[in-house]
């Protein structure tokens, strides 16, 4: 039998029922973190959590201490007695790991007290509650168990589970598999993973990872890199690529999974000239940190006890193997040359927005939103590689209106040091196409196009889910 017992937002009453699945620490975290908008918590016991079963059979079952192989699930709803999609905020599972007991959890950002609007990497997961099929949009999260898994494993697991849900190319990986990386010393009790090991785990999951480090001197002190590292973090988030991030001074790993809303636009525009990267408008990035409930934030400034951008000094990007061109090279070596000779943006104040996307997603966007038949035709009929880089340029007014005047499409599978890296350059009312070295220029009807926005899920303050 399965027990389904309904509670209000009364976690102490739930603790009385579930006992050591919810020790004081877990109770405190949930009490402080869950939204007051939750009106019903439905307890489901027992629940077979595939991720906990994996670590249980591979490790915990070998221990002398009694541990349950079953988990318990708590489902969260906005209204009582209504198991319907419109009410559902997701679930957390509780496992019998004694201290760090919160297991696999898929939560809507609005299930949390700290919710703020923003742009998130979220995947859709099917959940069945008492025979009712529901769906939850979430970034996968759990606490480390402290024995088999540590923060680095949880960060990789979250990133992998996001991709495996979105793309059939990536298979679902369980925690024991993830922790089973090459190491000279014993694997359990786990002490974590090195940056290199994290990249290896991702490689073994069919990713082609790249590692970036924030500039530092020989003593490890942070050197001002003009915002280059933060720009890389933002660019990959904007590309819908959640990444593993390392905090070397804290020896901690998290996943970076979204960004907040534009908050300092006027100030940045006033203080800067020439090309202004849109990354400068974002003072918050959304992270998945196993030390806190999901969707906490890192800030570009000191903000209570939260992480700051400069705490993050490593970025491990899980590229698809066909994403050869990376953002570092694009920003420092390629864009300045195209801006100088092709766009001729000599000192002009323009906002630049750069991101990676699939050509299918791009074409689908153009088909829906382009108002210019010539532009639409030229883009939709152009043979493109699976992945493309997009660099968009807007005046400040155009940026506010989500419009762009120039757009360069780069081949993400480009050969190094070859100049024919671009597929098309839209420069106001002209478009230059480069199809397999057949270069032609066409005149467009208008000068602006809609800004490309497709990779992230916008979660706003509007009522409901």
């Amino acid at each position: 039998m399965i027990l389904f017992q309904s509670f209000g937002r009364d976690l102490k009453a739930i603790q009385a029922l579930v006992g050591e699945f919810m020790p004081g620490r877990t109770l405190r975290i949930l009490e402080q973190g869950l939204s007051d908008d939750i009106k019903e918590i439905l307890v489901e016991a027992p629940y077979v959590d595939k991720d906990f079963r994996d670590t249980y059979y591979n490790d915990f079952s070998k221990r002398f201490m009694d541990m349950s192989r079953d988990s318990i699930r708590l489902h969260f709803f906005l209204e009582k007695n209504k198991i319907i999609q419109e009410n559902y905020l997701g679930f957390i599972s509780l496992r019998d790991t004694k201290v760090y007991t919160i297991g696999r959890s898929y939560l809507n950002p609005k299930a949390l007290k700290q919710f703020e609007p923003g742009f998130y990497c979220l995947a859709k997961y099917e959940v069945q509650v008492k025979g009712v099929d529901l769906m939850i949009e979430a970034f996968p999260w759990m606490e480390q168990d402290g024995n088999v898994t540590r923060c680095a494993h949880v960060a990789v697991w979250g990133v992998n589970r996001y991709y495996s849900q979105k793309k059939t190319r990536y298979s679902e990986r369980f925690l024991h598999e993830i922790t089973n990386h090459d190491t000279a010393t014993r694997k359990v009790p786990s002490k974590g993973a090195t940056v290199e090991q994290i990249a290896q785990i991702l490689s073994s999951s069919k990713f082609a990872p790249e590692i970036y480090f924030r500039e530092s001197d020989s003593k490890g002190n942070f050197i001002d890199d003009g915002g280059h590292f933060d720009r890389l973090v933002y660019t990959y988030i904007e590309s819908g690529l959640p990444c593993v991030a390392g905090l070397l001074r804290n020896q901690h790993a998290i996943a970076v999974i979204g960004h907040g809303e534009v908050k300092n636009f006027e100030e940045v525009i006033k203080e800067n000239d020439g090309i202004i990267d849109s990354s400068k408008f974002f003072q918050e990035i959304i992270v998945s940190n196993d030390n806190h409930l999901p969707y906490s934030r890192a800030y570009s400034f000191e903000h209570e006890k939260n992480l700051q951008f400069e705490d993050i000094d490593v970025l491990i990007v899980p590229f698809n193997e066909k994403m050869y061109l990376e953002a570092g090279r694009l920003f420092t070596k390629i864009l300045p040359i195209f801006e100088k000779h092709a766009l001729k943006v000599d000192g002009e104040k323009l906002v630049r927005r750069v991101l990676l996307t699939s050509s299918n997603a791009y074409k689908s966007f153009i088909e829906k939103f382009s108002q210019d038949d010539v532009y639409k035709q030229s883009q939709l009929c152009m043979q493109m590689p699976k992945f493309i880089w997009i660099a968009e340029y807007s005046s400040t007014e155009e940026y506010r209106d989500e419009l762009i005047r120039h757009r360069i499409i780069f081949d993400a599978t480009m050969l190094n040091f070859h100049d024919s890296v671009y597929l098309s350059i839209k420069k106001q009312n002209q478009i230059r196409n480069n199809h397999k070295n057949e270069q032609k220029t066409y005149l467009l009807k208008g000068t602006v196009e809609k800004m490309y926005k497709n990779n992230l899920v916008k979660v706003s303050n509007e009522e409901g889910i």
């Binding site: 480390q144 540590r150 923060c151 680095a152 002490k191 974590g192 993973a193 090195t194 940056v195 290199e196 994290i198 990249a199 590692i211 970036y212 480090f213 390392g246 905090l247 070397l248 804290n250 020896q251 901690h252 790993a253 490593v314 570092g328 090279r329 420092t332 070596k333 040359i337 195209f338 100088k340 000779h341 092709a342 001729k344 010539v374 035709q377 030229s378 009929c381 040091f417 070859h418 100049d419 002209q430 230059r432 270069q439 032609k440 220029t441 066409y442 005149l443």
Partner: protein, 66 residues
């Protein structure tokens, strides 16, 4: 010309779209030639920068995270 090129030459996906005038075409050709020249002149430097970057990644990747 391969079989696919042959089909494309008959179909011409952008056949109804008018090309820009000769002056504009020429301007673009000059601009893209300048792009090409700068790429060529900087290729060595790009390679050197990337080697430095790669060495740094190898050195720091041994660091432990939680």
């Amino acid at each position: 010309m391969n079989a696919i090129d042959m089909i494309l030459s008959k179909g011409k996906p952008l056949q109804d779209v008018e090309l820009a005038g000769e002056e504009i075409q020429l301007e673009w050709e000059q601009a893209l030639a300048a792009v090409n020249d700068e790429f060529e002149s900087k290729a060595e430097q790009f390679l050197r920068d990337e080697r430095v970057q790669a060495a740094k990644v190898v050195e720091l990747s041994k660091l432990m995270l939680g």
